[in-house]
Amino acid sequence: MGVLIVSLTALRMEARAQTPSSTETRPTPGDALVVGSIGDASRLLPILTTDSASGDIVSLVFNGLVKYDERLAVVGDLAESWHVASDGLTITFVLRRGVRWHDGQPFGAEDVRFTYEKLIDPNVKTPYSSSYELIESVDVLDEATVRVRYREPFAPALESWMMGIMPKHLLGQEDLNTTRYLRQPIGTGPYRFVRWKTGELINLEVNPDYFEHRPYLDRYLYRIIPDQATLFLELITGGVDLSGLSPLQYERQTKTAYFERHYQRFRYPSFGFTYIGYNLNDVRFHDQRVRQAINLAIDKRAILDGILFSLGSVATGPYPKESWAYDPSVVPQPRDLDQARALLAQAGWEDHDGDGWLDRDGAPFRFTLMTNQGNEVRRQVAELIQQQLKEVGIDVRIKVIEWSTFVHEFIDTRRFDAVLLGWSLSRDPDLYDLFHSSKTREGEYNFVGYRNPEVDQLLWAGRRTFLQHERQAIYRRVHRLLYEDQPYTFLFVPDALPVVHRRFRNVRPTPIGIMDNLIEWYVPAPEQRYHRMAR
């Protein structure tokens, strides 16, 4: 009997979904968005979240002072406006009035200062303190005005104020490391926390008093489905409304008539890139000609087309094309094996013994390319690179290692030849931590050992000015220099491939993603699926 009821309900829902939608001009409230996630969240307080699942939930329950809009411009969130002093040392935020926490209490400047105090508190297990340590003071001028004074001008500061603001009246007396509010967050955001069933589901309901406007979707349900294959099956049976697709799924498994009728696929460049990082202290890679030669020998287009089904673009530097820091005059060089061989010969690498491999002083050019376990795409990319470099006579060995081991035993100790990895970056183009020559201590991110005094100077200067046009000139030059120096061989920027059930309206891809306007999404009444869910 239960089975009969289940299938009848499914049929009824199916029928609704297929109702042709008339042109909707007025959004209707109701329905729920069911999102699938591979991992569970761990901590739901903004300053303590480190995994993406926690980040997803926190981004809906909390607000920062500012945020990015769909054109990647910084706009106000909890702050109505802000003013950067001419010396770049002070930012004054004017906060919105009338904003309330989910428990009804008013939000104010005290909450901002409280959040800052916890960010720099040595006893709080927050990993984000470094962006706030340059702050000299945070002063509450009145309940809607906050003045932040920095010890030196720090342009990425604005982005750091996208950190979710926490309620002082609830957390003031709590130990943030163990408080129950880690699992029952109270914020100012468009959705309120309802329930967290560990390992299964996080349930959020609409905040009807949200300061922008009441979001149309009544519920946001975050289902934890750890297996990629299961997630896909849930998607096609309607158990999940939104999910990310792998290139294979996008290209080969979602072009059926059923899928087209019920789902909308999107594609936009993600903010990150995949690269080969060379150990620049290794005598072989120390020579710039060798790195440039390898760059010329690798066919990035083939990698993109063959492994990612062309769902991405070739990278020439650390910025995607959408970033204002991207220098469009830096053009990727096409594959040129002759030029590559010529450069390698200049560096002393030739096939002296005729065995098909390049050699120098009797030793063949052989190196190990390491990458992390669990990333199928990366493994395939490594194999393709191995094959491509074989054509110039370089012998590449591949090693796939579990993540923690990889970082500790090989990267931190600098015991590697070359690594195949990716960076997922924030929108601010500051790359000080990645490429400045001072960031080469164990555990820091310039693990390749890159040292270019001009780049050092540019990175330092780029942080200290707030003038957009000045920063743009600086970072475009950094882009060009990095491409010429090749501390990394920049491979590609993959596309993000989300898919959403068609019943949701107002969904569109932007450089920042598809979820930025979630409060505008709605489902026309006849197509709504989830009604009046219990708390």
Binding site: G2, V3, V6, S7, A32, V34, S42, R43, T50, D51, P122, K125, T126, P127, Y128, S129, S130, S131, N177, T178, L182, R183, R195, K197, T198, G199, E200, L201, L221, R223, I224, I225, P226, D227, A229, T230, L233, E234, T237, G239, W403, S404, V407, H408, E409, L421, W423, L425, S426, D433, L434, R441, E442, G443, E444, Y445, Y530, M533, A534, R535
Partner: protein, 338 residues
């Protein structure tokens, strides 16, 4: 008898201690630290921040100091807090235990109900078509990768036929129901229990199918041994019906080894298969352990290893006791010997 029990229990303590020392050493031998997963290669996290966190977690202390701190707390049944989310380890274990135990009990029940008759029937007619056919089927189940079987069943029954839900424990209609509520107030949640039942059919089937081989083959060989015995021949010679011979004399002796197996499967009750839990999105103990190891969540790993060891030794011990009780030969010989 009581002094025997007491002596046995006491002798378990040093073994347990050694197990914890070894496990502690091994998990710390693995390269990597708990702060890695989240904080390595995150450009927003500086080296100083990571060092500060290492200190806050007590990871900068010498190893033996860390172990003694842990032991000190465990003796008072305080398993500490998870490094992943700072929740008490006991809480994390208790919220996952019921589901795992339920799946394992159901699966065990299914296996017993199928495997034992299968084994007995095969033993009664060895090398027959029935025997050979069942051998093939159970070995198929044994050799099949469980994730493959899980996905096949899911694709067939959940996606194509829509008989069962794809994954999870409860439908969204019951999103507000917590699993502990279901257990504490079963009668008020009958609809939810039905929902759970539908969700568990496939996971239990997969778990059971792969374990059929072991028990059925063991039963079969044990029964074959028993049926060759002299007392069976005597019983037949006395003119007893084959059914009487089998059920009254054969089974009682043949099934004794099953007790041992059951005792040794006690720790399996609390262990989950991370593979089928992952595929079916069941929040069980298998995933808890696997995720804890990958994230180097030492408190959780140590708690699970300790509890698992206790269960193993207890299961072993109970199996011995049960065997001694059930088999008069052992019981009597023990009583007469000094």
């Amino acid at each position: 008898m009581t002094s025997y029990v007491v002596r046995r229990l006491v002798s378990l303590v040093p073994v347990l201690l050694w197990i914890t020392i070894l496990s502690f050493g091994i998990i710390h031998l693995a390269p990597g630290k708990p702060t890695d997963l989240a904080m390595q290669f995150n450009p927003r996290v500086s080296l100083e921040a990571r060092e500060r966190l290492t200190r806050l977690y007590g990871l900068d202390q010498p190893l033996h100091r860390q172990y003694l701190d842990w032991l000190h707390r465990v003796i008072r049944l305080d398993f500490g807090r998870s490094f992943l989310d700072d929740r008490p380890v006991i809480e994390k274990i208790l919220e996952r235990l019921p589901v795992t135990v339920m799946i394992n009990l159901l699966s065990l029940g299914l296996v017993l109900v199928i495997a034992i008759p299968l084994g007995v029937l095969a033993a009664v007619r060895p090398h027959s078509l029935f025997d050979r056919a069942t051998t093939v089927v159970v070995f198929l189940g044994y050799s099949m990768p469980s994730f493959w079987l899980a996905l096949l069943l899911m694709a067939a029954f959940s996606v194509t036929l829509r008989w069962f839900p794809v994954s999870g424990l409860l439908s969204l209609a019951f999103a507000h129901v917590e699993f502990w509520d279901l257990i504490q107030h079963p009668l008020t949640h009958l609809a939810a229990w039905q929902d759970v039942a539908w969700h568990l059919v496939l996971p239990v089937t997969v778990t059971a199918f792969v374990s059929l081989a072991g028990l059925s083959r063991y039963t079969r060989s044990s029964m074959i041994e028993v049926l060759k015995q002299d007392y069976i021949r005597t019983a037949r010679a006395k003119g007893l019906s084959e059914r009487h011979v089998l059920f009254k004399h054969g089974l009682r002796n043949g099934l004794l080894p099953i007790l041992t197996i059951l005792g040794l499967s006690l720790p399996d009750l609390i262990g989950g298969s991370v593979i089928s839990e992952t595929i079916f999105s069941v929040p069980g103990m298998g995933r808890l352990f696997y995720e804890a190891v990958m994230a180097r969540d030492y408190p959780v790993v140590m708690a699970l290893v300790t509890i698992g060891s206790i269960f193993t030794m207890l299961g072993n011990f109970l199996a011995d006791l049960a065997y001694a009780y059930a088999d008069p030969r052992i019981r009597l010989s023990r009583e007469t010997s000094p």
